[in-house]
């Protein structure tokens, strides 16, 4: 049941470290793994720049 034409799969080719800070719908649709990875990236971003807004 794999769908090769998906934006989501393209996103998955990206390294987790390349997940954009603002995320996107493709990532949200991918579910738990992408969501947790995005949270990690947000945390790291806040650590690196505590005064920046999310």
């Amino acid at each position: 049941m794999k769908n090769s034409n998906s934006n989501i799969e393209e996103k998955l080719q990206i390294e987790l470290s390349e997940i954009p800070l603002k995320s996107n719908l493709g990532l949200l649709a991918y579910g738990d793994i992408a969501f947790e990875a995005w949270r990690e990236i947000k945390k790291k971003s806040i650590k690196a720049n505590p005064n920046a807004k999310e």
Binding site: M1, S23, L28, G31, K42
Partner: protein, 839 residues
């Protein structure tokens, strides 16, 4: 890895009317692939279409009167407050309870209602999991009962997305012009962010379970489409009149966006199941997307649900599911029996639904138990009803208020509790109404109308009007309508429907049409129900061409309404367009498989086309589908069996307990015919109250209760195996449950009128044209009525012919009635000297 797994995905409010154009534009590729690889069709909803009731019917296979979930909110056990509906309201076992009992493992995510979680074999992420406060300061840890088993709380709580985490990148695909919104003045973006976050939380939990657990049955519920539709459907193209152009431009893509995102989530979900898994996607109702969309909600209970449409969607794929086929007539209550059958488990005889056998390549044999409710053992149920805090679910309450499903509980809490109790009682009454259990519905409503302010009793009166109309009790309908008009209410009802239905019911169809035409012109002719009712009135007036035009217009505006197609089919029979009639009846059946009227009309059309075998099947289906006895269908079956057995004969056999009716226009020889029957040995039902006179020297043979047959026809059982006189205009009030042999006396209409002029002391040489035309119409109506009544056999005898050749007439009568008669007596009773008013 488990074999034979079944995944049910609920998409609240998903509707084919939005889906098909998106598929055509390549915007829902995953669902398209499922449709190609499986079966798809309409999913018929139930009334009232309130989602927690409906999703509870999906998993119990029972109507809400049996499963107990009767609305969006419930009253706490101690009457201390109200709260969003919980598992505590449900009193019937679900498929996951049954699967638990049989050793299967189930996962649930977000099912409505599923909080507090039941301790089943598997994982339950309840409908409370994703509901978090918009204000980070008010956030609390997950409440006990949100997740089962509790040990998973630590892992799953981090999968909740908070509304503040929603970014512009998440919102822009739904609302590309979001930047134009001044958020200080317009909170139009708020629902998108909140609903999106909640559905992502559900999806996160679902994907986690799909990846990390073994299961046999899994159910995931998303409300993304429903909630987006409630907030943004009024902006969906085509633009509705009354919608602000700027707002339209900003929000017009939101609904389509929700469907597209749902398809993206589906793609990921399907990646996480193997090819042996059966997958069902379904909605509980559709959502109005055309002219019937409401811009401003009326102030009635659960007003938002007025946007819900009769048909939702259903798609299924899997190793035992047929490929690329459309299936028909599925209902929400069929899902639980179908799930049980998939797992080779017996279906409860007390379930209202049926196994949807037609979706399977090789269906399992259906086994039954009387009721799963009576079986003892572990069903993974809550031991004690949990005591839940009324204020603990503020977030859900707030959302239900924002969506328009419930009113904000104002003032004293005891008033909110009492109002909720009334709402739930009314919902129960409406469930009974939907099941045609009118006496139970009425009992509840009659209690409710006694309520005092601040309870608005107007809707209870409206429901009583509806029931009275269904029961054809037009006096009561009129009475309740009058009371409704006199009560204090802020609700504006479209009372013209009730007014027209009452007029139609009491035979004033022309007046009813006037009322409907006025309403039609006020609504620019876009309401299909008005056209349908105009069709009904014209049909009963015998104006079949006008009826045809009206029904066709109703179908054009709303092609998904089964009753419109069935009415069209019935009318086409009168127009002698039998093939088209059969087609329309089949369309009606495609929409609602268990619609007995449509099967019956299909039978009539096929009967007319000479396809007796299939007509018989259609009549038998109609008869089987009606909970009460469907006399007309049963009589039609008898007629067909007779036709199949007596193809070479042209006789009318005696029908058990038949009633012989002598009819005709007044002064057409009906008393003479009664005299003939009497002398021929047929018992006569008469009270002899009307004595013989100059006009009828041998007596009238009348029976007084006949004159009030439109109010009370219960005396008809006294006429079994007897003859009784019923004048032509009253024939339509005969009870369909009996078999009738009608001898209809014809006489030159000019003679009839002349004879009546004399009898009433008027000038016989003056011809009242109006009366003559009315008689002609009446005769046409009798012809159409006779054709639609399978319990009626009718012969026409001409008055003059009987006088001139009574022997021939006696032969015909004996053969028609089907019993041996004293023909000499019959012939001798004919007195030619009474033939006086010749034209």
């Amino acid at each position: 890895m488990q074999k034979n797994k079944l995944l049910v995905i609920g998409w609240d409010a998903a509707d084919w009317k939005i889906i098909w154009p998106l598929i055509a534009n390549g915007q829902m590729p995953t669902l398209k692939k499922m449709i190609q690889n499986g079966v798809h069709g309409n999913m018929s909803t139930m009334n009232p279409p309130y989602s927690p009731m409906l999703w509870s019917s999906v998993v119990t296979g029972k109507t809400p009167d049996k499963h107990g979930v009767l609305g969006f909110i419930e009253v706490m056990e101690d009457n201390k407050g109200v709260r969003p509906v919980t598992t505590n309201s449900r009193k019937a076992r679900t498929v996951w309870n049954i699967l638990h009992h049989k050793g299967f493992k189930s996962n649930l995510v977000g099912w409505w209602p599923s909080f507090p979680a039941e301790p089943i074999n598997g994982v339950v992420i309840t409908d409370k999991f994703q509901k978090v406060s918009i204000d980070p300061k008010k956030r609390k840890p997950l409440e006990k009962g949100t997740i089962h088993p509790e040990s998973l709380v630590t892992d799953f709580k981090d999968l909740i997305m908070f509304p503040q985490e929603v970014t512009s990148e998440h919102i822009l695909p739904f609302i590309p012009l979001a930047a134009k919104i001044d958020q200080e003045k317009n909170n139009g973006l708020f629902p998108a962010g909140k609903v999106l976050a909640e559905n992502v939380s559900i999806h996160n939990a679902a994907t986690r379970l799909l990846r990390t657990t073994n299961w046999d049955f899994m159910a995931i519920y998303y409300d993304l489409i429903d909630h987006f539709c409630h907030s943004y459907m009024k902006f969906h193209p085509p633009k509705l009149k009354g919608v602000n152009q700027d707002q339209y431009e900003i929000f017009k893509d939101a609904v389509a966006g929700a469907y597209r995102f749902q398809d993206m989530m589906l793609e990921r979900t399907l990646e996480l199941v193997d090819d042996d898994t059966t997958v069902i996607i379904m909605s509980d109702h559709g959502f109005e997307s055309g002219n019937k969309r409401l811009i401003n909600m009326p102030k009635v209970q659960a007003a938002a649900a007025m946007d819900h449409r009769q048909f939702g969607m259903f798609v299924a794929t899997g190793p035992n599911i047929k490929k690329n086929q459309k299936v028909y007539g599925l209902g929400l209550i069929d899902i639980a029996p179908t799930i049980l059958n998939h797992f080779n488990l017996p279906v409860g005889r007390d379930m209202d639904g049926k196994v949807a056998l037609e979706i399977f390549k090789n269906p399992n044999k259906i086994e039954y138990v009387d009721s799963w409710e009576n079986i003892k053992g572990d069903f993974g149920e809550l031991k004690d009803k949990e005591s839940l805090d009324v204020f603990s679910d503020e977030e859900t309450m707030q959302q239900l208020i924002e969506l328009g499903y419930i009113d904000k509980p104002e003032g004293k809490i005891e008033i909110a509790v009492h109002k909720t109790k009334c709402d739930l009682k009314q919902n129960l009454a409406r469930v009974h109404l939907g099941k045609k259990n009118y006496s139970k519905a009425k009992e509840i409503l009659l209690e409710l109308i006694e309520e005092k302010e601040p309870i608005d009793v107007s809707s209870y009166f409206m429901d009583l009007v509806t029931i009275s109309l269904e029961e054809k009790d037009y006096e009561s309908a009129r009475d309740y309508l009058k009371k409704l008009k006199s009560v204090k209410t802020d609700v504006k009802y479209a009372l013209f429907f009730a007014e027209a239905s009452i007029l139609h019911g009491i035979g004033k169809s022309e007046k009813a049409i006037e009322v409907l035409e006025k309403a039609k012109s006020e609504r620019r002719g876009n309401n299909p129900e008005i056209w349908y009712k105009i069709g009904l009135c014209n049909y009963s007036l015998g104006k079949f061409d006008d009826a045809q035009m009206a029904y066709e217009r109703a179908v054009e505006i709303e092609p998904d309404k089964a009753k419109y197609h069935a009415a069209l089919a019935e009318n086409l029979i009168e127009l002698k367009e039998y093939e088209e009639a059969a087609e329309s009846a089949l369309t009606s059946i495609e929409l609602v498989k268990y619609y007995s009227k449509a099967h019956y009309v299909l039978g009539r059309a096929l009967d007319k086309l000479g396809d007796l075998e299939n007509a018989k099947i259609a009549y038998e289906t109609a008869s089987r589908l009606t909970p009460k006895k469907f006399y007309k269908a049963e009589q039609a079956i008898e007629n067909i069996e007779e036709k199949l057995n007596l193809t070479d004969k042209n006789t009318n056999s005696y029908k058990k307990d038949q009633i012989v009716i002598v009819s005709g226009l007044p002064r057409s020889g009906t008393s003479m015919m009664m005299q003939m029957l009497y002398k021929g040995g047929i018992k006569v039902l008469t009270d002899e109250k009307r004595k013989a006179d100059r006009s009828n020297p041998k007596g009238y043979f009348e029976y007084e209760p006949v004159m009030s047959i439109h109010k009370d026809n219960s005396w008809l059982s006294k006429a079994e195996n007897k003859s009784v006189k019923v004048v032509a205009p009253l024939l339509k009030h005969l009870d369909s449950k009996f078999r009738y042999k009608i001898i209809f006396m014809n006489r030159d209409l000019n003679e009839v009128v002349k004879s009546q002029q004399i009898m009433t002391g008027r000038n016989p040489d003056e011809l009242p044209v109006k009366l003559l035309n009315a008689f002609k119409k009446q005769l046409k109506k009798v012809e159409a009525w006779k054709d639609s009544e399978p319990g009626v056999e009718l012969i026409y005898l001409n008055y003059k012919d009987v006088l001139q050749n009574p022997i021939d007439a006696a032969d015909k009568i004996e053969s028609f009635i089907g019993v041996k008669m004293e023909k000499n007596g019959m012939v001798q009773s004919v007195d030619k000297t009474l033939y006086r008013n010749k034209s």
